[in-house]
Each structure stands twice: as C-alpha cells, then as structure tokens.
C-alpha cells in the first residue's frame, strides 16, 4: 500500500470532488444484488417514501413562508434518496439516529408528517410538546433516537445503542448519520473508533453533500473521499452514489446484513449535494451556481421516476394519482398542525428528572405509532 496523499501537497482546489473510488470498494455481498431482489411493490414503496419526503419538506417550506414554523427550517432537497434508501434497509427491531436532514428516515420508520409539522410549528400536539423543535424528537418505542445539535455527538450514542443490542442478543442494528462537516468532530472519531474496537453493529451513513454550512469539502478535510477515514478505523466502507436510491438501498442492505451478522461497523459514504442553503434563511450565494445546475440533473426523484417508468412499474398517470393521495395526507396533517394550539406555558416546567413530578407524559403520537414495533427489553419510560 502506498502513501495516500491524494492531492499532492495542497488541499484539493475543487469545491466538491465526486471521488474516484465509487465502484472499487464493497462492504460485503455483491454490488447490485440487493436492489435486484426488490419486488415491484417494494420499488413503488420506495418511490412513495421519496415522494412523501419531498412533499412534506415542500409543505414545511410553505409553512415557513407563512410564518407557522418556529425557528429555522432545514431541507434535504436532493438528498432524499439517502434517507429513504438507508432506512428502507432496516428491520423493525433496528435503531436509527437521524440528523436534521433525515426527516425522510423518520418517515420511513413510521413517523407521520403531522409529527414533523407540529414539531416545526412548535405545537402542543408535537412529539416533544414544544420542548424541542424540528427533527429533534425521538421515540424509544419506535427506536428512534433524537439528535442534539452538537454534531458528531450522536455517533457514540448510537454505538452504545448497538452495544446494548448486541449484549441483549437482539439481532438489531443501529444506523446513524453524519455530514461531511460532522466528520471533523472529535465525537465522530471517538464514536466510530469505539464501535470498531468493540465490533458492534453500527452502520454509519456519511452524507457527503459538498458543504458544511458555507464551508466546502476541501476546507473541511484534505481528502476527496471520506471513506479513507474508515480505513483508519479498520472498518469496511463503500462509496455510493447518494442520488441513486437503489444504489443507496443496495449498499445499506449489505451493510446492515453484515453488521447484523456480527461482523462489526460499516461506513458508507454517500456522494450527494445540498440543493439549498444550510437552512431556509441561507441563500447559499457561496455555492457556484453551476454546481446546483450539475446536481439538478442528478435529482434522485426524477432519476428514480425514469427508472420506474423504464421498468413499467409507475406510469405518468399513476404517479399523478399517487401524488394527489399523498397531498391529501399532507394537507390534512399540515392543517392539523396549523390548527393545533401552542403549548400551555406551564408545560415548560418539570420532567427534568424522573422523580420531579413534572407535567407527565408527552402528548405523544395520539394517532398511534406505525412502523417499527417494540422489541423486548425496553419499555417506553425512558428505555427501561
């Protein structure tokens, strides 16, 4: 093996490199095998998730512009294939730790649009009752762990989740996410390294979307391909076209299978692009317009539409119909959020400790959870 200085002496001058390692690594199995096994029904389901993810976020944009959203709004426009493809590879007993751009993961895992709407609008009916916002909610019953804002911090936590599942012999995998920027944090390093040494079933999805806020990849790291970091932890990795939902699913499924098989953590780098600013307020002037143009061509939904059309799975007409159905659900849920009351002021107090006689349980998803079922060994009162 030779020296790995990929870009001679200076950090790469490219704002965003799509890498040269795309097809040469494989975390196990055979590239393409898992996506080839998908039935037409499953492919449609994936389409449905993709479309729903985007439509929910579009609706959030509308809620933002009409002044209903409290605080910032974060979008995964152009990256939906990653959230959907990875989450689709999970089984009910698996755990996820999504980040702010992974609303799609939560939707695939059974979270309903109204949960996102009420969260972003800070309503009493939201999963946190207004105590936290945006995607900062979780549910131990549905095996979704809420992130904190501090990037990287969730990785050791998901390593701990995986460790516990392994200890309990639950056959469950923990999947979590990090951005290209987040890989620079100490917690990324500590979390991945511990996962590697303890050989726990952690699948880490690294969304390399070229930017961390205004900072391009080359100012975040000196490598073009983040998978090189996986080598330093001695764990297998793969570079995936993050805008190809089937490729994403394929790699994620093989990674999850490998982890479930007791063979330790896996690192998947998803090449993609952030098609908006960091948050809704950010016009992303610092991104060269031609990059947006280039990546618009690779839009994961348009690409997948063409695939399904080509395979005769989804006609134009059926698509229109499905979009309409989705719209009805989203309309209803958005209305639910808009018409929900703000929380009562005194919901601010208590439940800091288990025994402080706080305001009691959260409103919770009164509409009933869907998706993952609860496995043995943990109950709803704080994971015990």
């Amino acid at each position: 093996m030779e020296s790995s200085v990929t870009s001679d002496d200076r950090p790469s001058k490219r704002a965003f490199a799509s890498g040269s390692l795309v097809t040469s690594r494989c975390v196990g199995g055979e590239i393409g095998a898992e996506s080839a096994r998908l039935t037409p029904e499953q492919k449609l389901e994936i389409w449905q998730h993709l479309q729903r993810n985007r439509m929910v976020e579009e609706r959030l944009g509308l809620l933002y512009r009409t002044g209903n959203v409290v605080g910032g709004l974060f979008s995964s426009l152009g990256q939906e294939g990653i959230s959907v493809g990875t989450a689709y590879a999970l089984q009910p007993q698996d755990w996820v730790g999504p980040l702010i751009r992974n609303l799609g993961v939560m939707l695939v895992r059974g979270v309903r649009p109204r949960e996102a709407f009420t969260q972003y609008c800070a309503r009493a009916t939201s999963p946190t009752g207004g105590r936290d916002g945006n995607t900062h909610f979780g549910d131990l019953d549905r095996r979704i762990v809420a992130p904190i804002s501090h990037l990287g911090a969730i990785i050791p936590v998901m390593t701990g989740i995986a460790l516990a599942s392994k200890y309990k012999g639950e056959d469950a995998v923990a999947m979590t996410y990090i951005g290209d920027g987040g890989t620079s944090t100490g917690d990324f390093h500590e979390g991945v390294n511990i996962a590697a040494v303890l050989n726990v079933p952690l699948v880490l999805i690294v969304e390399n979307n070229g930017y961390a806020y205004s900072t391009p990849l080359r100012m975040q790291t000196r490598v073009d391909d983040l998978v090189l970091k996986a080598d330093g932890y001695g764990i297998p990795s793969e570079v995936v076209d993050g805008n190809d939902v089937l490729a994403v699913y394929d790699a994620a499924k093989r990674a999850v299978d490998r982890a479930r098989d007791g063979r330790g953590p896996v690192f998947l780098e998803m090449k993609t692009f952030r098609m908006k600013g960091h948050a809704e307020h950010d016009d992303a002037k610092y991104v060269p317009p031609e990059l947006f143009e280039e990546w618009r061509q690779k839009d994961p939904i348009l690409r997948y539409d063409r695939v399904l059309e080509g395979e005769g799975i989804l006609t134009e007409k059926e698509r229109t119909q499905r979009v309409a159905t989705l719209k009805a659900e989203i309309d209803a849920d958005a209305d639910f959020a808009v018409n929900s009351p703000a929380p009562e002021p005194n919901f601010a107090f208590g439940r800091v400790y288990a025994d402080d006689g706080g305001p009691g349980p959260l409103p919770g998803p009164a509409w009933g959870p869907s998706g993952a079922t609860r496995a043995a060994g943990s109950t709803s009162d704080g994971g015990r």
Partner: protein, 324 residues
C-alpha cells in the same frame, strides 16, 4: 452621527483591533467566506485575507486548541463559537489548557473565545444557552458579557488586548435590537469593572446582558410606584467587581440577583455568596434571585416565555423585597 447596533459594535471593535495589531486574527467555522453565522465577521476576509480570517472544520476543541497554540506563539486569536452552546465541545481546552498555563509554567494565553448566547429567539435547548455557570469555578479565565453597543465595542477591544483567556459572550437577543451612537475614537471598556446603569436608593438589581434592559424597564415601572431601583450592570462576570457589589449593597441594602441562566449554580449564587459573606451587615432583606428555572431552555414561544425570567418576574420580586 450613525447609530451602531450591538453586533456592529462587536464587528467594529474586532476590525479596529485587526487593523491595529497584526498579531490579531479570527478563527472559526464559516467566519471567512460567509462572514459568520450572525455576520459578526462580515467583510473581514476581503479586508484582511485568509491568513487572518481562518475558516476551520467543525471542531470546537480543535479551534480553541489552535487558538491557544497560536497565542503561545505570539498571536492574539479571536475564536468564534457559531453558537456559544458549542463551547461545551471545546471545554477541556479552555479549562485545562488555556486557564492553567500561566499558573503552571508562566505561559500566557491571550485568546478570546466569543459567540452568541442567550434565549428569546426560539432557538431551543441548543441555541439559547447561557454558559457562564460552567466556567465560574475555573480560575484563570475572564468572562465578559456586554449589555450595550458601547460596552460591546469597548469590551471586545479590551478582551483582545488582555493577556489572559477571555470568554466573550454576546447576547444574541441584543444583536440588532439595540443601537446607539458610539465615539469615533479608540476606546476600551476595562475588564473587571461594573457600571451603574441606573441610580436608585431602595433596592439594587445586579445583572448583565439582555437582562439589563429588562431591569431598566422594570425600574421605570417601579419608579412610578415609588420604588427607586438601582441597576448594576456587571459587564464582567469573572473576575467579579466586588467593589461595585459592596457599593450598591451599602447604598440600598436590598439586592436582587437577576440573570437569564438557570438558578442553581448560576452566577447569582456567587454574587449572593460574596454579598452574604462580605456585606452581611448591610443587608436588610434576603438576597433574592430572579433567574430561569432549573431545566433546559424550551423551544416553543409560550414555553420559552414562561422559562425566561422577564420584566414581570423581576417586578414581582422587587415589590416583595422592597416591602420586606
């Protein structure tokens, strides 16, 4: 003359120091091209170039550590935390490296770590914190938080010129909400000196940051009720201006400690302790704290409003103490 906002005052203060002293430089996430998440360093990259306005990876511990090293090698770094909440990731570098180097081996660490703190802008649990409480028990640090644009500019300049590590907290609620006319000449506001923001005779409110404005508002209301409130703006949270505390205690004999952070272990505790130890004989009533309750900062506006210790809370406490 033009009015300068609180954030512009900070930016102007940094700019003047950058112009004055080539050893000053800016380091942090998105401080260059973007000019900072709150635009505190807007225009700096163009004016001073990438060697003096250093965009970094997302790595607060690394940022503080790099600042410490550069300071040891003759520079005066100003490190930005995008939100002050992220300072917890650089905690070890601050408390164990920066704060202890002079005591241990006579190595000065003239760094400034600055960033937006405080609530009232629906930032939720991780973009609203007041973190001074985490650092009060760390000898070797100085902590500053201005309440006015004048002080913001004067204190950031003093912090940059200080020989020791200074944590500079900027209350983001004030960033664009307050403005004033500033002197055109070079001035600093000395670290370690409080100011009397309003003279009064019946009761003192000792506070800082955004709370100063709420306190002044409360004082107006109470004035109409015949209660004369003195408002002391600490400006520096570490080291505490004991003389100013003693002076106001001697004058009004009743003190409210008022801050936005949670009660237990907040700076109000230290202020109360100093007063109860050093000014015991002058106290004519319980030392009263008006603070946030002991919980994280909630996100939804009604919850945050209930959580934050506002003008009304202060007025109620002041009425009670005044009638003690």
């Amino acid at each position: 003359m033009a009015l300068t906002t609180y954030i512009d005052a900070i930016r102007e203060g940094m700019r003047e120091e950058l112009q004055r002293d080539p050893s000053v430089f800016i380091i942090g996430e998105d401080v260059g091209t973007y000019g900072g998440a709150f635009r505190a360093t807007a225009g700096f990259l163009e004016e001073f170039g990438p060697e003096r306005v250093v965009d970094t990876p997302i790595a607060e511990s690394g940022i503080v550590g790099v600042a410490v090293g550069a300071a040891m090698n003759g520079m005066r770094p100003v490190a930005e935390m995008q939100f002050i909440d992220f300072i917890s990731c650089g905690f070890n570098q601050i408390v164990n490296l920066a704060a202890k180097a002079r005591y241990r081996w006579n190595a000065g660490v003239p760094i400034v770590v600055r960033g937006p703190c405080g609530g009232g802008v629906s930032g939720g649990p991780f973009h609203s914190q007041n973190v001074e409480g985490m650092f009060l028990n760390v000898p070797g640090l100085k902590i500053v938080e201005p309440a006015t644009a004048y002080d913001a500019k004067g204190l950031i300049k003093a912090a940059i010129r200080d020989e020791d590590p200074v944590l500079f907290f900027e209350h983001k609620f004030l960033y664009r909400r307050i403005k004033e006319e500033l002197p055109s000449d070079d001035y600093i506001v000395p670290i370690g000196k409080a100011r009397v923001a309003r003279e009064g005779t019946d009761l003192s409110v000792v506070t800082f940051g955004a709370c100063v404005h709420h306190a002044l508002e409360a004082a107006e209301t109470l004035d109409r009720e015949g209660v004369s409130i003195e408002v002391v703006d600490l400006r520096t949270l570490l080291p505490i201006d004991r003389d100013a505390l003693a002076a106001t205690a001697r004058k009004t004999n009743k003190i409210i400690l008022y801050h936005e952070a949670q009660r237990t272990g907040g700076i109000g505790a230290e202020l109360a302790a100093i007063l109860a130890e050093e000014c015991f004989e002058w106290l004519d009533g319980p030392l009263t704290r008006v603070t946030a309750p002991d919980s994280p900062v909630p996100y939804a506006p009604p919850l945050e409003a209930a959580f934050l210790p506002g003008t009304e809370d202060l007025i109620a406490a002041a009425r009670q103490l005044a009638s003690y």
